[in-house]
Amino acid sequence: MKRFRSRREFLFESGGGISGMALAWLLNQDGLLASDEDACSNSSSTPNPFASRKPHFPPRAKSVISLFMSGGVSHVDTFDPKTALARYAGQPLTGRGDIIVRQGNPGPLMPSPFTFRKYGGSGIDVSEIFPHIASHVDELAVIRSMYSMSNDHVQAVYALQSGVIRMGFPCLGSWVTYGLGSESNNLPGFVVIYDARGGPMGGPSDWSQGFMPAAYQGTVFKASGTPIFDLKPPSGVTPGQERARLDYLGKLNQLDARKYPGDTELAARINSYELAYRMQSCAPEAVDLEKESAATRKLYGFDDPVTEPFARQCLMARRLVERGVRFVQLYHGGLGVQNIDTWDAHENVRENHGRHAKEVDLPISGLLTDLKARGLLDSTLVIWQGEFGRMPISQRGLGRDHNPGAMSIWMAGAKIKGGQVIGSSDEFGYKAEEQPISVHDFHATILHLLGMDHTRLTYRFNGRDMRLTDVYGELIPQIVKT
């Protein structure tokens, strides 16, 4: 974007089309305004006084943990029970026009292989495969009338992330960090942690900043080992050597900066080396899960190899949010073997969803419990979603094909009223029926909870004030009401 052609120019022009909070963030993000505190932690409890990231109105939450179930979770087997599927089992789904499936021909209606039961004071029905998440149901707002925009995985992931099925548009995490900045001096504002089995379908475009500056791109943290690519010097370089190089570099750059007094871009680059240096110690600290108590680790499921991988991701998310990271995007399910390592249950829903539910159920439950115990749940929005739902009809006997027409998602934290069900899909779960909720509605609502009006959070690109929600988006009233 031309506004960002030059940071110098941008700083001078700060009134022209970019909000003060983004300006403050950029300064902060470059370390220009950063205080010299050495401590990595607690930056969220001592926010940078200059980084006054004013949202449009008082926010309900200040950070987001997004749990993305890659491959597409079947709503009729998890959060949207359909008794009609048992009643009409084995019969064709008729009266809905052409049933568009992704692969082959449509099969007949198939009941869920799982049983549902009512949980909590609210008595919301949840599938047996999520017993731990279900124990939090009184804290969840379950949306049963969401729908997606494509029955192709990648386009649907892009839709959920950016509101557009094409590549090249900023994702939700980019919009949020663009709007609010980060509260951490030592960590990126937008962090992505994907499944140890591999990245999600769609790859790095899933956390792309699109037409925004690279600063708003999601930074990938690995779930184990050194968290950030190129964070550490190659082997053989001692910390002393590294510090000496940085000091020498700093001296030379300072000498040089005298030739350009007042040039903030050069100053920012000098500072970026110091910030990078701090990140080298703070990023590993942020994800050092050994520091957590045995009880906490058990709560997330570290003691079971099935739950351990996603437990790591969830616990890292909590630690990052605690340290002021604005947006943490977790992906469960990765590009190992598509139909096996993701929720893409074409072959066998019982086997696929049974396994993946077990992998995430306890870790997510642990995350919710832990956030609550630490008083973070009220200030953190937790969202759970996939790219689309699945068909009420079977595929080759026991599987289900993609269904963008209806899906179930849930939101928690951010002082959202829990224990409520919003909207519904039709009798079979084929299409969203009552109060259909689009991706844009979902995004508008998330921004609202963070204190931003989705119609006013704009980024001027190519002569147009672009929005995450384009020209669409209605707030979900049951979520936004307090």
Binding site: P204, D230, A244
Partner: protein
């Protein structure tokens, strides 16, 4: 449609504060958006609940099965109003209440006659056409100022006039060392070698600078730098993008074409003609065919294209957006769903542009003589036919074995499927039919399985037949080289691409028409009809559209079709190309001149390179822009001439180190170009400079892209498409323009330094400063290795002489010797640290990263 034809004046925008009586209500601005958001879903193209269709005035007046809903002039009596106002039930729309403001707008609109301007009837208002950018540039007189130094060159004179008006002083000239480095990084994207530096610095003749520019423009490396700028505009990449991110094995030929075009100084008008209509020119050349890759560089789903007709409209939109932004500096694509909100581009213009491109289809142009291409195709078809015949024999031979082996295979399926298959077809329930159909025909038997149970004589026969196929395949001619491009054809007959095979049992929906993909004669190719799409919706066809252009910038009555003699193509793109490069077009020359200015001076005269419309920035020096645009056309659209012109100005040679307080106060952003603007080098220059300084740069030009090795954790992010992951070494130490551009995985070292998004045409890149850049330059293995090579180079040149090594290091990396303080600091550092650490620090200096 020529501009200045008859139009309807648009009503002024209603302000929310005005009283109802004074409130202006326009169908397009106030009512249509409400209908679109809240009514047409149920009373529109696809569904007409209660048999009510609100799309047109005529259909709305007709009413639905419950009677009349609209009485123009009488809102209170119109059920349309009463239902949305809640005066009758059920309250409309079902999806949620309208706001009081919207209800009032509907009331006023009905009371005032419920006028209904359809998109096709609307035209832009006259004042919008008076926008500066839509007027043809006229060469202004070159001003004369009181500053003698600034009167010698027209560019300086225009700039000085503007500076004087603001009381701003021009900076003094930069020193020759700075100018040397500036010119090298700018024109070829590499720092000068020691010999190159000496050649200029030792040349004391008055035209030393002119000779330097000539040398650089003649360097083949010039095209590798300036071609890159155009590839950004062309959103060039080597892969499809989207889920599968398929490789584009021939995309690189277009990249090479662009490099060659810049090196040969192909006139910009011809450059555009070839890219828009290279297959329609007379004569067609290999290069002009390759050039059509420009249109085809859009990201592409590349899977199930025929099941998803909307994809084609996305690609057409991408072409229109790229031509609009890239060539015209206009956001034409904003008029896809509605008239442009800010510029006088009606939706009809968009669909005229679309009609101009609608006849085009993807094709791989053979790059041989037509005779060779035909011979190749004939031979291949003949061999295919022979192979197929034998395959058929094999299938017949195998059939009994397949029949034996198939039924047990169904056993791996769930019981419900097996049960369904066990029931004779005629007796299956509807559900069982579905179950069976999902499996039957999807199960295959491998030839190895059959081999195990085949009778020896059948097995021998099959082997004999397979040997025949192998023999035939040996006759296959060498594949002919092809270019990935466009030509005209009927998209409804697109051959299957990868992944296009319909799923078993699912026929692809094809319209029942006769025709062929490419038109090879006789007679003239007819473009399939295209339509205005209401709200951009593929299912809401408006009137059929004729080809045409953006009316606000169309002077006279240019032809919309210029068919070639062969009749194989429609000539619509040729006509569009001629319209684009016509001297009558007010934007094309201005836009390219401004781009080139931007790359030299760090900021465009119009700062928004891709948008000269209402929401773009105004030119800081409109007279200069127009003078340059006219001069550019008069000099034969020569880009190299334009470089010479701009670089011989005083403005280009000013110092960047001029911190005049009064200037800073009056023009802090340097919009007047009173000093040279420093700017961070682009990602490719950074990597290429590192390689040049270390001595490792492989200057081989052209050809297939390279894939520098990536760490496994980066490769794990996607497994779609290809990444050949070549060893780190001279093979990949080539200029960054030759690195494979994978849409799904931008090359990390370049990406972190603001490589632009590869999916949208991009003029000016972002410049961000983030700590991950510092991490990459300090810790990335590539950089560390190059720093070591750089150190070895210094050690070899001056063994055991740290003072000389430091001096050489500075000269190579920064094109200047160190000053006394720098020498002292270097000596101190080297006393305790390795030469490689010193070399590494040089590659991290701000000075190394900036053009000054």
């Amino acid at each position: 449609m020529p501009r200045r034809s008859v139009w309807l004046a648009l009503l002024a925008i209603a302000a929310s504060s005005v009283k109802a009586a004074d409130r202006q209500v326009s169908f397009s601005k106030d009512i249509e958006p409400i209908f679109q958001a809240s009514c047409w879903t149920c009373h529109g193209a696809t569904v007409q609940s209660s048999k009510l269709d609100l799309r047109t005035r005529q259909s709305a007046l007709k009413g639905g099965e419950h009677g009349i809903v609209l009485l123009p002039g009488k809102a209170e009596g119109s059920r349309l109003y009463r239902l949305v106002a809640g005066l009758e039930t059920p309250r409309m729309p079902m999806s949620g209440k309208l706001t009081p403001d919207q209800v009032e707008a509907i009331k006023l609109w009905i009371d005032r006659g419920a006028q209904w301007e359809s998109a096709a009837e609307r035209s832009p208002a006259s004042e919008a056409l008076n926008w500066w950018a839509f007027q043809k540039p006229v060469r202004p007189a070159v001003p004369v100022t009181s500053v003698e130094r600034m009167n010698r060159h027209p560019v300086d004179a225009f700039l000085m006039k503007a500076m004087q008006a603001q009381g701003v002083k021009p900076a003094p000239p930069a020193d020759r060392q700075t100018l040397l480095r500036r010119a090298y990084l700018d024109l070829i994207g590499l720092p000068p070698t020691l010999a190159q530096a000496a050649e200029f610095l030792d040349d004391k003749s008055p035209d030393a600078w002119d000779k330097l520019i000539d040398r650089l423009l003649a360097s083949p490396q010039y095209g590798e730098r300036w071609g890159r700028h155009w590839l950004d505009v062309a959103r060039y990449a080597d892969s499809n993008g989207f889920e599968h991110d398929f490789d584009r094995p021939n995309a690189w030929r277009y990249r090479d074409y662009v490099i060659r075009a810049f090196n040969r100084d192909k006139p910009y008008n011809q450059f555009l003609r070839e890219q828009i209509a290279g297959d329609e020119l007379e004569p067609v050349t290999k290069d002009s065919l390759i050039a059509t890759g420009f249109l085809r560089s859009y990201a592409k789903v590349g899977y199930r294209e025929k099941d998803n007709p909307e994809f084609r409209y996305e690609y057409l939109d991408d072409m229109i957006a790229t031509i609009g932004r890239g060539i015209l500096g206009l956001t034409v694509q904003c008029a896809r769903c509605h008239d442009h909100k800010f510029d006088p581009i009606p939706q009809t213009d968009y669909y005229r542009m679309q009609a101009s491109l609608f006849g085009s289809v993807e094709v791989d142009h053979p790059l041989t003589s037509p005779e060779e291409a035909r011979a190749y195709e004939t031979k291949t078809a003949e061999l295919d036919a022979r192979v197929n015949e034998i395959r058929q024999k094999i299938r017949t031979l195998e059939q009994p074995y397949r029949n034996t082996l198939l039924p047990p295979k169904y056993k791996k399926f769930p019981q419900n499927i097996q049960d369904a298959i066990a029931v004779p077809e005629a007796q299956r329930t509807p559900g069982q039919q579905l179950l069976a159909s999902q499996v039957i025909r999807t199960v295959s038997v491998s030839s190895a399985e059959m081999e195990r149970i085949m009778k020896p004589e059948d097995l021998a026969e099959r082997r004999r037949l397979e040997a025949q196929i192998a023999a035939i395949n040996k006759e296959r001619p060498q594949r002919i080289p092809v270019a990935m491009g466009m030509t005209d054809g009927d998209y409804r007959f697109t051959p299957d691409g990868p992944g296009d095979e319909p799923a078993p049992g699912k026929g692809v929906k094809r319209e029942a028409i006769e025709g062929s993909y490419l038109h090879t004669g006789p007679g003239r190719y007819q473009v399939p009809p295209s339509y205005l799409l209401i709200r951009g919706d593929l299912n809401s066809r408006g009137p059929e559209m004729k080809p045409g252009f953006v009316s606000a910038i169309t002077y006279g009555n240019p032809p919309v079709e210029l068919p070639p003699a062969s009749g194989h193509t429609s000539g619509r793109r040729r006509a569009m190309a001629e319209w684009l490069v016509s001297p009558e077009n007010p934007l094309t020359a201005r836009v390219i001149v401004n781009r080139i200015w931007h790359h030299h001076f760090g900021r465009g005269i119009v700062a928004t390179l891709d948008n000269f419309g209402k929401l773009g920035e105004l030119p800081t020096n409109p007279e200069l822009l127009d003078w340059l645009a006219v001069e550019f056309m008069d000099r034969g659209w020569s880009v190299k001439e334009l470089h010479r012109l701009l670089m011989t100005s005083e403005a280009y040679r000013m110092t960047s180190q001029f911190n005049d307080a009064s200037n800073m106060a009056k023009d802090p952003q340097d919009r007047l170009y009173w000093r040279f603007r420093i700017s961070r080098v682009e990602a490719e220059i950074l990597r290429d400079s590192i390689l040049a300084v270390s001595g490792a740069l492989n200057t081989e030009m052209f050809g297939k892209p390279v894939f520098p090795k990536l760490p496994p954790e980066i490769l794990a992010q996607t497994k779609e498409g290809i990444w050949l992951d070549h060893e780190d070494g001279p093979e990949v130490w080539r200029r960054s323009i030759y690195i494979y551009r994978k849409r799904g995985l931008p090359f990390p070292l370049l990406d972190v330094f603001d490589l632009p998004n590869q999916n949208i045409s991009c003029g000016a890149r972002d410049v961000s400063t983030v700590p991950t850049q510092a991490l990459a330059l300090m810790n990335d293995e590539f950089v560390v290795r190059q720093a070591r090579l750089f150190a070895s180079r210094l050690e070899e040149a001056a063994p055991g002489d740290p003072r000389k090594q430091v001096e050489l290091g500075y000269r190579l990396a920064l094109s200047r010797p160190p000053d006394a303080e720098e020498s002292k600091l270097a000596a101190e550092f080297l006393a305790g640290h390795k030469l490689a650490d010193f070399a590494h620090v040089l590659l991290n200096l701000n000075e190394f990263l900036y053009v000054r």
